[in-house]
């Protein structure tokens, strides 16, 4: 178990910068999720930590050791790959034992560890099968088992759930969380799925274009996004953004007029989460929402439409959803914070 520190990590591929001056501290035993859209550099960053990529600049520490120049095998990390990368010519047992064998762990220990991991993940019955004889979910568990058997200082996960179906994904998510609690190991997890990111992380790191956009606990990041990008990336459906003008302590735009606690005069982008709005016909100002479509998913319903010319989504309670017809106009009142962003650089104000 160890702390992971990145200091000024930069990397380019073919003249294209992939990582730009990344600094990050992962405390011992933390579960850190790197999240961001595809191409943001999160996988490259993870692979740099694993030692599969060499940074052009910067240093990388695991525990107290500077591992920047060490090959992967000397870093004491384990990794679960998106494609699982199970060794096709080895049985499950051999797959689980491979890392230990390479480290010349004595055979009896190997056996105990494999048995232990198999029990932990419910793989006992599959030990003598080959990967091609396993289902997708089973393969995923073997891939995790392979990492677990090693008992490394740091676990790295590269989108390990993206090849599973939705139900299985939710189960495994819980499983991973439980494993983390049980092992207390440092885990770094890459995903583009914000639900996974929110549910799994102790600390969330949002990446964009090779830079860290924001870092913090999931709720911190969710409730206080540092940029419009982060705000839009986390939460489903995504936050609504309405360009507006701030003056006299109010933000105004076509169909929108809200009081805020600021007394500047400037152009802003107003951010409102779909979940943080309620219909309130009596509201003064508020949001005039023209509804086009109502989507009813059972527990929740979402109305899609426009505020002024801007596309807009809002959550509705059962009763309102049932009563709302396309074409009607609802007056909404924010229940949560009103986020304001700079229209040019997207920073939160």
């Amino acid at each position: 178990m160890a702390r992971v520190s990145l200091r000024g990590i930069s990397k380019s591929l073919g003249g294209q910068p992939i990582l730009r001056d990344i600094g990050l501290d992962v405390p011992d035993g933390a579960f850190v999720v790197l999240v961001g859209p595809s191409g943001c550099g999160k996988s490259t960053l993870l692979r740099t930590i694993a030692g599969l990529e060499r940074p052009d600049r910067g240093r990388l520490f695991i525990g107290e050791r500077d591992v920047t120049d060490l090959p992967p095998r000397d870093r004491d990390v384990a990794m679960v790959f998106q494609s699982y990368a199970l060794y096709p010519h080895m049985t499950v047992r051999e797959n689980l034992a491979f890392g230990l064998r390479l480290r010349r762990v004595d055979p009896s220990t190997v056996e105990t560890r494999v048995a232990e991991v198999a029990r932990m993940l419910g793989l006992e019955a599959l030990l003598d099968r080959y990967p091609r004889q396993l289902s997708g979910g089973q393969r995923q568990r073997v891939a995790m088992g392979r990492a677990l058997a090693r008992r490394p200082a740091v676990f790295l996960f590269d989108e390990p759930l993206s090849n599973l179906d939705a139900a299985l994904r939710a189960d495994v998510r819980v499983e991973i969380r439980r494993l983390h609690a049980r092992l207390g190991a440092t885990m770094i997890y890459v995903t583009h799925d914000q639900v996974e990111a929110m549910t799994l992380a102790d600390r969330l790191v949002v990446l964009r274009d090779g830079r860290i956009e924001q870092e913090g606990s999931p709720l911190e990041v969710y409730h206080a996004p540092a940029t419009r990008f982060v705000a839009g990336f986390l939460g489903s459906p995504a936050m609504n953004f309405v360009p507006a003008r701030l003056e006299e302590g109010r933000v105004r735009a076509a169909g929108l007029d809200l009081a805020v606690d600021r007394d500047e005069r400037r152009e802003v982008v107003v951010g409102l989460r779909p979940h943080e709005l309620v219909p309130d016909p009596s509201a003064v100002g508020g949001v005039a929402f023209h509804v086009d479509v109502v989507e009813r998913t059972g527990p929740e319903s979402f109305a899609h439409g426009r505020v002024g010319p801007v596309p807009f989504v809002a959550r509705l309670d059962e009763a309102t959803a049932g009563a709302t017809r396309p074409g009607t106009e609802l007056r909404l009142r924010p229940t949560g914070p009103i986020h304001l962003f700079d229209p040019i650089d997207g920073r939160a104000l």
Binding site: A50, L52, R73, V77, A85, Y87, H89, F98, L102
Partner: protein
């Protein structure tokens, strides 16, 4: 109605395939019947059945030499050895290089690939004499080692193309998983990538084997000890200037064809594993 059409179609397919099979086998059967005919053929013959069938030609080719030694046996063993060693040396040379070309980007890779392709384009007609002098300088003339080296290296360019495609088809994550699991690059290559590449390796080895197994000109020029002659050299001796024995040549040809046939049969499922997997993925 549709059942009938389907039946007709299936009949047509089989007719075409049977025709193609006949086309493929006909010349081979011709050689076989020449080898097993006890009497010469003097009619224009359509059907390649032997006249007055006999196996004496095979006995004559395979049997002991006049001095009582079983030369054919030694030559067969020698041929197998040279061809097997060629396959082995070719793999040893080509496999790591192909792996590097598949996995690493290095200065000069493009040049290397172009040079390898160029060796396939350059007719070897004028290269035999320099090669002879070179092997002579290395003291390898009239040795099987020299022959094996010459064959193996000439088989390397094609082997590289093929193995590279094989490795390209094996996901990089596999090597990376091994690296993270604690393997060095060579260990990952040896214990994870190579086992996954087995079909491609086998096919590459087959082609290298055939290079040596069928080669005549270099073997005849380089080897001067009868017991070291490879089978094509032995076979060509039946094509003497006066009194060529084509019947024995045919019998020998049939025998020489047996090992490749067995290997092809054995490996047929994998014959193009490397080619296809690589191309579809890209």
């Amino acid at each position: 109605m549709t059942g009938r059409i389907r039946w007709l179609e299936s009949l047509l397919v089989h007719a075409v395939l049977l025709g193609a099979t006949a086309f493929a086998l006909y010349p081979v059967l011709w050689v076989l019947s020449l080898a097993t005919s006890g009497a010469p053929w003097l009619e224009p013959r359509l059907w390649p059945w032997p006249v007055d069938p006999t196996l004496t030609r095979f006995v004559e080719v395979v049997g002991p030499s006049p001095d009582g030694r079983w030369l054919f046996g030694r030559q067969l063993a020698g041929s197998l050895l040279v061809s097997g060693a060629t396959a082995l040396v070719c793999l040893v040379l080509a496999t790591p290089a192909a792996y590097a070309m598949s996995r690493f980007d290095f200065v000069g890779r493009g040049l290397t690939e172009r040079t390898l392709l160029a060796t396939q384009m350059f007719p070897g007609v004028a290269a035999a004499v320099p090669l002879y002098l070179l092997l002579d300088a290395l003291g390898l003339i009239d040795t099987r080692t020299g022959l094996v080296l010459a064959y193996a290296t000439s088989a390397v360019p094609f082997a590289l193309f093929q193995l590279r495609a094989t490795f390209d088809a094996i996901p990089r994550e596999l090597d990376e998983a091994a690296l993270v699991d604690g393997a060095s690059r060579p260990v990952a290559f040896w214990r994870v990538v190579l086992p996954a590449a087995r079909p491609g390796l086998a096919v590459t080895a087959l082609f290298a084997f055939l290079t040596a197994w069928n080669e005549f000109a270099l073997a005849a020029t380089f080897l001067s000890a009868e017991e070291r002659f490879t089978l094509p050299v032995v076979l060509h001796r039946y094509a003497a200037e006066h009194g060529a024995r084509w019947d024995l040549f045919a019998a020998g040809a049939v025998l020489v064809s047996v090992p490749p046939m067995i290997l092809f049969y054995w490996l047929q499922r994998h014959l193009v594993s490397g080619w296809t997997a690589g191309a579809i993925k890209g």
